[in-house]
């Protein structure tokens, strides 16, 4: 029996990047808080790691993935309101967005339109090249990249991007379809997202820490766009809305 003070019980004392399979890794430095206590507690480094490839796997676009990132994206220095120049801490790059980016909608999310940089490439190779350049320059706070399924032989691109991400401090999110979950990936953090009533179910596919079988339910306020519409008038739309709006637990 090993004494409790043995280095085997506390491998982080030997080297910060060592951890037991039952612990969450602490060595990767401090992450950027996601804005949700419950999620932070499950992430190694207590937040989104900077300088690493983070994969978010979605069943379809628009299920609330950006509401999940909202505290991170909307957090901006107070100077953002008046300063004409956009600094690094505010800039957000969007690469290969699935639809037209609606700037007024992002203003609702709390992201000033001037903070966005919108990139569109013709093919996967050019897109990865652009992502690598953005990560190298390290002049954006976050890079959101939508990457559809890769063809065979293009998986090296992911490894390359992960290496490029490690050189800087950029928060690098790659949003991919759910079907990519079975493919191998060099990303140290892979989460699956699924829409649920008033929130998101987050599954931990891969993380530096113990395996977590059941998914984490994260309550998200409905998009800020949906709240406070016509604030003074509390009026429901007739009939159509009433039919299916009774929650299932009440009906049963």
């Amino acid at each position: 029996m090993l004494p409790p003070s043995s280095p085997v019980h506390r491998p982080e004392n030997i080297h910060p990047s060592l951890w037991l399979a039952s612990q969450l890794a602490r060595g990767g430095g401090h992450g950027v808080s996601s804005g949700f206590e419950a999620l932070d507690a499950e992430l190694p480094g207590r937040g989104w790691p900077t300088g690493a490839l983070i994969e978010l796997l979605l069943p379809q676009d628009g299920i609330g993935e950006l509401r999940l990132l909202r505290p991170l994206l909307a957090r901006a220095p107070a100077s953002a309101q008046r300063a004409a120049r956009i600094t690094r801490a505010e800039r957000i790059a969007l690469l290969q967005a699935p639809h037209q980016v609606n700037a007024p909608g992002w203003v609702h999310l709390g992201v000033q339109a001037a903070r966005l940089l919108h990139l569109q490439a013709d093919n996967a190779i050019d897109a990865c090249w652009a992502a690598e350049q953005v990560l190298r320059a390290d002049s954006c706070h976050a890079l959101l990249m939508w990457q559809p399924r890769l063809r065979k032989g293009e998986h090296d691109l992911l490894r390359r991007l992960h290496v490029a991400a490690q050189a800087g401090q950029t928060l690098f999110f790659m949003l991919r379809p759910w079907s990519c979950a079975r493919e191998p990936s060099p990303a140290p953090l892979r989460l699956t997202l699924q829409a649920a009533r008033d929130g998101l179910e987050i599954g931990f596919l891969k993380r530096r820490g113990p395996l977590r079988e059941q998914s984490l339910f994260l309550p998200l306020t409905p998009s800020p766009n949906l709240q406070r519409h016509v604030p003074t008038v509390d009026r429901r739309t007739p009939a159509t809305a009433a039919a299916g709006s009774i929650p299932s637990e009440l009906a049963g």
Binding site: A103, L117, A137, D138, S139, N225, T240
Partner: protein, 466 residues
């Protein structure tokens, strides 16, 4: 191998192995090495190349001068600190010279004449006058160009090294060999001051390089373009300028099948002078352009220039890239993806969502953009994060719009009625809706002939809430 007046003056190592030597005649060479490439020496081109080298080296010091025997002298005493010491400076100069496609021996010394003689002898770097004198003492007398005429007499005396020459009595030496030899010796040892005529950068930059063959690979062209960009960097540094627009042209076949030169213009959003940055831009631009025919020559000219603005640095640098890095990033992205693919938001104040959401190229200066929207989102009606390119018609199922699953309304309608002043009236009721899988959509009901008409309204999906 190279000929001058029918004699070999320079040759490659394989030719030497075949027994060819300096001073041989053409006939003898052809007998020994029939497959050798014979070139006539071209002093004009050599001089041109030397001047190009001097121009490129102007980025390290403003004081550059040409010396006989294909030497370029640089006064680096003021540059050592800036470039991080002698070793780092020599490494940088070596890289620059290699990019020009030239090989060189590098030597340094506290006097220009001394350094010049050391360079012709080999790679010798000295930093102090004592070590310079020690090295000079051992150099052969031949290197002293003023002593060429008296070489035989000096060798007859047994005087073969500079140290021995210095020990000879000066009055006698002056009477026999003249003042010039003694002056040169004194200048090399630092006993007499030196005067130089520095190279002055031309007022306009225009450089051209002939390619050795017809080339259509853009990678190879980019490598030759680097030689031109090195000169441009030197010229920009010497004139304290930064560049806004580059003009690169590729000359094609002349004569009967003449093809018009391909012209490429590279515009920078923020003036730059860094050679590496310009090179990556040129490389991407070349890779994207298609050549109508192989190129035989490459030219480069600086078109729009501005005074160089030194970057101001913070005492405590922020993590991550600087604003300059970001500008360079944007230019690089524009060079490969195209200006219309790298965009910034320029929203317009309009009620119609397609028109309100407008994006323009990042190359458009910020001052021409419209003022940002009102910053209080709570007072604005809801807007989705994504808009579809074209509104998607929805079919109805049990009096509910249907998209994958039946949609449920989660907000009261918002009426948008606009565009009548442009002759395209538009009447829409926008709703937010949720499907059975809890995703939110932005849908609208379009009244075609106005609300009063009998026509059934049509439902469309227009956006997604992320």
């Amino acid at each position: 191998m190279v000929f001058e007046r029918e004699r070999v003056t320079a040759l490659s190592a394989p030719a030497r192995a075949l027994g060819v030597q300096e001073g041989m005649r053409r006939g003898g060479v052809q007998l020994l090495a029939p497959q050798a490439l014979l070139q006539e020496r071209d002093p004009l081109r050599e001089q041109g190349l030397l001047e190009q080298t001097a121009l490129a080296l102007l980025q390290y010091t403003p004081q550059v001068t040409l010396a006989p025997d294909a030497c370029v002298l640089l006064d680096v005493s003021a540059s050592l600190r800036l470039f991080g010491g002698m070793r780092a400076l020599c490494r940088k100069i070596g890289v620059t010279i290699a990019r020009l496609g030239v090989s060189a021996t590098l030597s340094s010394g506290v006097t220009a004449t001394g350094a010049w003689m050391l360079a012709r002898y080999g790679n010798v770097r000295t930093l102090r006058s004592r070590s310079l004198q020690r090295r000079l003492d051992r150099l052969p007398v031949v290197l002293l160009s003023a002593a060429q005429a008296h070489l035989e007499w000096l060798h007859g005396l047994g005087c073969r090294q500079l140290g021995q020459l210095r020990r000879l009595p000066r009055p006698g030496l002056q009477r026999r060999c003249g003042r010039a030899l003694l002056d040169m010796l004194d200048r090399a040892y630092g006993d007499l001051p030196e005067l130089h005529e520095w190279v002055v950068a031309p007022p306009v930059f225009k450089a051209r390089v002939e390619l050795p063959d017809r080339i259509e690979h853009t990678d190879i062209l980019a490598a030759y373009a680097q030689g031109l960009l090195v000169q441009l960097a030197g010229w920009l540094a010497a004139r304290q300028l930064s560049i806004k627009q580059l003009h690169l042209w590729l000359e094609h076949e002349r004569g009967r099948q003449a093809v018009v030169p391909t012209e490429l213009r590279i515009t920078l959003s923020v003036p730059a002078w860094q050679e590496d940055h310009l090179h990556t831009l040129v490389k991407e631009k070349l890779a994207r352009s298609s050549l109508p025919a192989p190129a035989i020559a490459l030219g480069l000219a600086a078109e729009e220039l501005q005074a160089m603005q030194a970057a101001s640095e913070l005492l405590f640098p922020e993590p991550g890239g600087s604003p300059e890095d970001h500008q360079r990033l944007l230019e690089l992205l524009v060079a490969r993806l195209g200006a219309d693919k790298v965009r910034q938001a320029a929203p317009r104040a309009d009620h119609r969502p397609e028109i309100a959401n407008r994006w323009c190229s990042v190359m458009q200066p910020a001052t021409t953009l419209p003022a940002p929207l009102a910053t209080d989102p709570a007072r604005l009606p809801p807007r989705p994060l994504w808009l579809l390119e074209e509104p998607l018609p929805l079919r109805m199922q049990q009096h509910k719009p249907f998209y994958r699953t039946p949609l449920e309304f989660t907000s009261p309608p918002e009426r948008i009625e606009a565009g009548w002043w442009e002759g395209r009236p538009l009447t829409r009721d926008y709703f937010t809706a949720r499907d059975a899988r809890h995703a939110y959509y932005w849908i609208f009901r379009q009244w075609r002939g106005g609300e009063a008409s009998d026509e059934e309204p049509q439902w469309f999906l227009h956006g997604l809430f992320g």
